[in-house]
Each structure stands twice: as C-alpha cells, then as structure tokens.
C-alpha cells in the first residue's frame, strides 16, 4: 500500500531494485533481485525436472503410452521446446550448432521467462501490505524494502547486464573455437575476401574491424538494454495505471470519482498485464534468439546446405526490435 502510494508520485521508486532491510553481504546490501533470482532458479529447476520426468520415455511396461507426455505442464514445456528447437533455432543455427547449444539456450530462455513472469506477480506489494498492517513500514533506509522476495529482476540493468556478459562470453568462445584466432580476426576485418584481397581494400578492412570490434560489445549491450527497457517500460505503464486511484485520492476527489477512476484503472491494468505476459515471453525469446543468431554468425561460412538455410532464416527473421 505504501509502495503504491509512493509509486503514485514516483513510479520509478517502485521499479528499482531495492536492498533488503538489514540484509548485507560484505557490507553491501542484499538486493531484492538477488533473492528473487535465487528462489526463481530453484523453482524453475524443480518445475522443469518435474516436466522432464513426465516427458521422458516411460518404462517398457507402459507399452506405447510410455512415449506420451504424462502431465499438462510437461506438455506445455514440450511444445515450447519443440517449437524453439525445430522452428526457430534449427533453421538459424543448423543441426550441429543447435545440438551443441540447445541446452544452454533453452536454459537462458526459461530463466529469463521465469524472472519476467515472477516480476508480474505482486509478491512485493503483498509483503509490504502485510508489513504495513503490522506497522513495520517505518524507519526504513532509502531504497530498502521489508519484502524478501518478488519484483521484476529483469527490470534491473545489473541483472540483464549479467545475462548479456554470459551471452558475450559464449559468443566469443564459439568464435574462437570455430574460427581460431586468425579466423576470428579475419571475421572482424570483414572476412578472408577483404583481408586477402587487394591492398587497396586494407583501409576498408580497418574500418570494418573498428565497427565489428565495437559491435562485439554493442550486441550484448543491446541485448541487456532491450530486455531491461522493455521490462521497465511495461512495469511503469502498469504502475501508472494502478496508481490512478491513489492519484485521484491524493488530489482530493470524492469517493465517487475515486471509485470510478479505480475501476477504469483496474480494467486497464488487467489488459496491460495480459500485454506484459506476452512481452515477458517475447523478450525472453528475443534475448535467447539473438544470442543464437550471434553464435551462428561466428560459425564457419561453408557449413553446408543446412547451415546456409539457417542463415537465410536468420535474415528472414531479422532482429526483433520490440
């Protein structure tokens, strides 16, 4: 409640990652996003392990039914995995790279998706409301909270930045392993045709090198900023909608005006929440898919028809800009 009232005057205060009240590691406050990530990770592993058991082939005694997924949740995960593997990653990366990086990319997708979805559930608000009812909300330091779990971890640039660094490392490791140091440098200079061509092209190669070198860092940075910005924007919109009632009350409107505005803002919030569920899915997909595209760009260019088809698909899909 106090959070909501606060957000009415400053929506960003609700969004930013807060320190837990009196929780510290090495003198630094433990942030809400850290606990949220940890809890989400545990829940995610447990849920996916349950899904894996229901998807895995059963014992012989089950007959042909051993090949059937044995839970609705497992069915949902299976559909998502099949779609990502066969329709998205396969055409972009080719069979070999897909087989190699699929576990990592799926982990990335589901981890970000879980964080995004958890961020939509008002755990923090519920905890703060309970604290407010108990009269515990006072004497808090600035940017700290009594909640111990919840909030949109992916609305923190520190979190999305961490994910982007992992993507960056993976992309470069793939580049070095596939191309070697010489090939990697050639790739940065525009490829063998440019480097091994006429000396007149060397300035062009140098220019390409500068652009590509910065591109190495810009690509993952763009990943981090895109995810962070989308989450912040969505949650800001949601907070603004839900705050209309509080703003009306602060403005001194009568009970009828406040009630009417609250109803309108509640309906609007529900619609925005539905949109946010879609954005949560889309952004998890975009982060994972672009990482896959960057990995595949670091692969050899002459890797067969399958891979060529993958590049075509990558160009066809383009870089989703949401």
């Amino acid at each position: 409640m106090i959070s909501l009232l606060a957000s009415a005057s400053d929506p960003m205060s609700h969004l930013v990652d807060k320190g837990l009240h009196q929780w510290n590691i090495l003198g630094r406050p433990v942030m809400l996003s850290m606990v949220t990530m940890l809890v989400t990770a545990i829940v995610l592993v447990v849920l996916l392990r349950f899904a894996a058991r229901s998807i895995a082939t059963g014992p012989e005694s089950m007959g042909n039914k051993r090949f059937v997924t044995r839970s609705a949740f497992g069915g949902v995960i299976e559909v998502m995995v099949l779609y990502l593997r066969d329709e998205m990653l396969g055409p972009v990366m080719g069979a070999r790279l897909t087989r190699k990086y699929l576990p990592f990319l799926l982990s990335m997708f589901f981890f970000i998706l879980a964080l995004n979805i958890i961020g939509l559930i008002p755990f923090v608000e519920v905890q703060e409301f309970i604290s407010w009812r108990r009269g515990e909300q006072f004497n808090l330091a600035e940017n700290t909270t009594l909640a111990i779990f919840g909030g949109a971890a992916t609305a923190s640039i520190s979190v999305t930045g961490g994910m982007a660094v992992i993507s960056f490392v993976l992309i470069q490791v793939q580049g070095f392993r596939e191309l070697g140091v010489k090939g990697w440098l050639e790739h940065l200079c525009g490829g063998h045709d440019l480097v091994g061509g006429s000396p007149l092209l060397y300035p062009v190669a140098l220019l390409v090198f500068v652009v590509e070198f910065f591109g190495l860092f810009v690509k993952p940075a763009a990943l981090a900023i895109r995810l962070f910005a989308n989450m912040v924007a969505g949650h800001t919109l949601l907070i603004v909608f839900t705050s209309f009632g509080a703003l009306a009350a602060n403005a001194g409107l009568g009970w009828f005006g406040v009630s009417a505005i609250t109803v309108v803002s509640a309906v609007g919030s529900m619609l925005i929440t539905l949109l946010e569920v879609f954005v949560a899915l889309l952004q998890a997909f975009v982060f994972m898919f672009l990482t896959a595209v960057f990995i595949s760009l670091m692969a050899h260019e002459d890797h067969g028809q399958d891979e060529a088809h993958g590049e075509d698909a990558a160009h066809a899909h383009g870089a989703p800009a949401h």
Binding site: A6, S13, A41, M108
Partner: protein, 170 residues
C-alpha cells in the same frame, strides 16, 4: 509521502555477479538433470513415430505386393478354369460325335446283319420249299404215272419246273 527519485539505470555489482553465478548454476543443473531427459524423450518419440511410419509403409508395400500376387493368381485361376471348361466342352462334343458315329455304325451293322439273316432265311426257305415241292411233285407224278422215276429224271423234271416257275414269276 515523497521519496527521492530512484534511478533504474544504477548499476550494482552484487546482483550483476549473482546473476552470472545463479544462471550458471541453473544452466548446469538444467543441462545435467533436465534437458538430456526431455530431449531424449522427444528424440525417442520422434524415432518411434518415424519407425512406425516406416513399418506402416513397409506393410503397405508388402500388402500391395501380396494383392498384386493374389490378383495375378486369381487371373491365372480364371484363365485356367476357362481353359478347362473349353476343353471339357470340346471333349464332350468330341465324345458325343464319337458316340453318334459309333451308334450309327453299330446300327448300320445290325441292319446289315439282319438283312443277311433275312436273305439267308429266305434262301433256306426257298431251298426247303424247292425240295419239298420237288418231293411232292415226284410223289404226285409217280402216283399218276404209276412208275418209278429215276434220280436223273427227277432232277431234270425239277429243273424244268423251276425254270417254268421262274419264267412265270418274272
């Protein structure tokens, strides 16, 4: 209540490192406990479906070959039965014709034999009649002439009588 304006772009090292550690752990756990099971399950199912399709395709091909073989055998059987019917009909016609020819020949033989028997009987009857008539005539003549007639006379007289009878009959 007015709080100081918060900055969402503020970078914090602890969540940054925590993200990498937690995600690394999650990726390792999922990569070890979850994805191999799920992907193997999907691959098993895929292999099962492909195997079933291949088996169905093989069964369909085998069934088509069997059907073709059956149809060929049926065609051969039909041709064989038609040929047998044709041959049976021809045999029946031949046997009928043979029977008819044999019956006709037998009938002709019987007719000829009957005619021969009739002719033989006629000749026997005529000879007996001649003998009887001659004896009777001699007896009558001897009675009339009251004398004995020799054998040569008797023969001559019979021949004359027969000649006379033949001349009357013609």
């Amino acid at each position: 209540m007015m709080l100081a304006s918060a900055n969402p772009l503020e970078f914090n090292l602890l969540p940054f490192i925590t993200t990498m550690v937690v995600f690394g752990t999650v990726a390792a756990a999922l990569g070890f406990f979850v994805w191999p099971k799920i992907l193997k399950g999907l691959d098993d199912r895929n292999a099962k479906i492909l195997g079933e399709i291949a088996a169905a395709e093989a069964a369909r091909t085998a069934a088509a070959a069997k059907q073709k073989e059956f149809e060929q055998k049926l065609q051969e059987a039909m041709e064989e039965s038609s040929r047998m019917i044709r041959e049976a009909k021809a045999e029946a016609v031949r046997m009928g014709e043979e029977l008819r020819v044999r019956s006709e020949a037998e009938l002709a033989e019987r007719a000829r034999r009957a005619q021969d028997e009739i002719e033989s009987a006629r000749r026997t009857a005529v000879a007996e009649l001649e003998s009887h008539a001659a004896t009777l005539a001699v007896s009558i003549a001897s009675r009339i002439l009251k004398r004995e007639i020799s054998a040569s006379d008797q023969k001559r007289m019979v021949e004359e009588s027969l000649a006379g009878m033949q001349g009357k009959s013609s």
